[in-house]
């Protein structure tokens, strides 16, 4: 029972890292399919396509940041803190914004990137606009990251 708090906290961190990573992989996959389609016909658009394909990858990093913060908070790199199940649950809850928002937003950002890649295949000069559209989806992934960071830093008091 004394390890339940720690288990809950680590489960939250694992979900944050895992779900955000899965979302990013799916998003990058979708954008990659679109990029491959365009580059089959026009290999010169590689740089532009790569830029747009990489966008949904950021959510995976956001998830990793939260994993790292939880591990630091729990002093996992030394002797782990002993925390109650309520504290563990609080950390678990703090991880959820990133886990859910990054998972979903990465997939949708991948779809938007795929559409933006198709846009630059027809209008190569509109690459700036094409970058803005998927970047709008990023806003909510960033907000979820900030929410998780704030919750971890100020919402959960240990010790």
């Amino acid at each position: 029972m004394e390890l339940l708090g720690l288990a809950l906290a680590l489960l939250g961190a694992a979900l944050a890292g895992g779900m955000a990573g899965v979302g990013s992989a799916i998003g990058i996959g979708i954008a990659g399919e679109s990029a491959a389609g365009v580059m089959t016909e026009d290999p010169d658009k590689f740089a532009k396509c790569l830029m747009l394909q990489a966008l949904p990858g950021t959510q995976g990093f956001y998830g990793f940041i939260i994993v790292f913060m939880v591990m630091v908070k729990l002093e996992m790199f030394g002797t782990p803190l002993s925390i109650s199940w309520v504290q563990g649950l609080m950390i678990f809850a703090a991880c959820m914004p990133v886990a859910l928002a990054c998972w979903i937003s990465a997939i949708y950002q991948g779809k938007t990137s795929a559409a933006a890649i198709q846009m630059i295949s027809k209008k190569p000069d509109a690459v700036g606009k094409a970058l803005v559209l998927p970047a709008m989806v990023e806003t909510y992934a960033v907000l979820s990251l900030l929410t998780s960071i704030l919750l971890l830093m100020f919402g959960v008091q240990l010790g």
Binding site: G37, T40, D42, A115
Partner: protein
Amino acid sequence: MSYVYAVARLKAMENRFLDASFFSRLIDSATLEEALKSLGETVYGQWISGSAPAEFDQVIDRELIASCEDLERFVPDRELLDIYRMPHDFNNVKVILKSLFRAREGGERRYDLLSALGAVDTERLIMALEGEEYGLLPYGLADVIPHCWTLWEQTKNTKDIDLMLDGAMFAAMRKTAEALGIPEVVRWVERRIDAENLGNAARLARMNTDPAAALPFFHNGGTIRPADAAKLLGEPLESWGKALSHTDLGAVFEGIQDRSDMQATLCDISKALSDSLIRVLEKAKYSASAPGNVILYLLQKEEEARSLRIALVCVANGLNREFARRLLSHAR
């Protein structure tokens, strides 16, 4: 392969469509050789080398066939391409059947009108029809062909056989579209049937055909019932828009005026119906993974080929350039 990949590739391929300024230059060419020189700088160029100038029709066909073959390699559902190519297959069946009818009456078999644009190999069609191995035929033709023979033996009327085959083709198109389960493709097939029915109605109206006698010319499967299409024959062309206002096709006829030049009116109707077929798929244009983009691409390619044929025929025969411009429906 996924539709995200396929649609992205199609969008990139669309960049190679010939634009309005190219067609304008083509029409202004002084000779066919000059026009083909311009065409040689486009994607059609790969098929021009070694062809005589008068063979431009084959050049255009080769490009269309190559496009279909290209798409077959990366479009996830081959059935989508089958739906588009089915009219060419049925046209080939008509050619072979008519040739066999002629042969039965002591005439010669002629297969020079067969099109390579169909999804089914023409040799396979000839073998199945000549050998009466109808089980080898696709699209439910195994059931239809014996009826065609019976009808021909009874009436010797090839027009009735054409109508029977058209009906079978639309049924097969609809069945394939429904099996695919892609709503926009089902809608397109319905619109295709409606367009055929309305095109027939316009031609029959011009010939003052009695609505009751015209019923066999209309096919099931569209949004407009054959009986409703036949009723249009009793109405002046100007009121067709109103009569069809409950359907999406009402707007198509709103701008159509019954002109004294019958050919020009039919040409306007044909263009409006052809545009409406593209419009029904236009929503797909805004989706990065809509399968409708495959049909849309093929329709645009077909439109381009048609425009190219018009332009080259006009140049080859020294026809009036303004007349050619009016005929060109291509406008990107």
